[in-house]
Symmetry: C2
Subunit: 108 residues, 2 copies
DNA sequence: AAGTGAGCTTTATGATATAAAGTGTTTTGT
DNA sequence: ACAAAACACTTTATATCATAAAGCTCACTT
């Protein structure tokens, strides 16, 4: 019922959105990192990154905690188990869909 | 200067957007097809598909032509050379970025 | 003690995806 | 033969959402 192209059209935007895809993919590599590092890595503006992180946190994909380091506040961002699973499944799905699309022949 | 994650964050939304990604990927397989078939294949509403096709056409990635078949109007959609190149490059880039991200180690 | 900069968060704005309504033609029912 | 429904879309309206701009708090400087 849900074919390749319908799955493409219905990709989860929470993860698929470029900025959040970058953040989640980075976090999957880093495990844990701080706000400013993530900002440098992704090139996002602070406000932008902040909003995207909130959305990811609301969805339970990341968890951030504030610390005081050298008398300055620092936000550390952790990817959750759910976040790690979600981004891994996303990338697998993308790869599968790409392969399926390449081998697809008109036969419904 | 532009690392993996910045490239992810800056993916071209014209192609990356799920509905258009589905349409372009389908057209890359089909070569040419009609509006209603594309609609069935992607599961998009008519209005939705119409708007997305317009954007792709404005960008020169597809070209549609109207015909009268069995006394009914039928819109045929062709992918252009540019469209074919763009979607191929998109998928290659995605694959590359995924691989690069997987092998990425913190070293700037 | 006023000013500055760091490290964010919140609000405002502008873009855009989708849903709803509309258009023109053809077919069907009576 | 005429109204009504069905096709095959397109156009407009709305609601979501990404990003930019402004704001906030605390520390440090002068």
């Amino acid at each position: 019922m849900n074919n390749i192209f319908q799955e493409l059209a219905n990709l989860d935007r929470l993860i698929h959105e470029p900025a959040r895809l970058a953040v989640l993919t980075a976090l999957a590599s880093c495990q844990k990192t701080d706000f400013l590092f993530l900002q440098r890595l992704t090139g996002l503006s602070a406000g932008n990154l902040s909003v995207h992180l909130s959305k990811l946190e609301d969805a339970g994909l990341v968890k951030s905690e504030k610390k005081i380091v050298a008398k300055r506040t620092q936000t550390h961002v952790n990817i959750t188990e759910e976040g790690r699973d979600s981004i891994a499944r996303y990338w697998e799905k993308i790869e599968t869909l790409r392969n399926d699309a390449e081998n697809w022949k008109l036969d419904e």
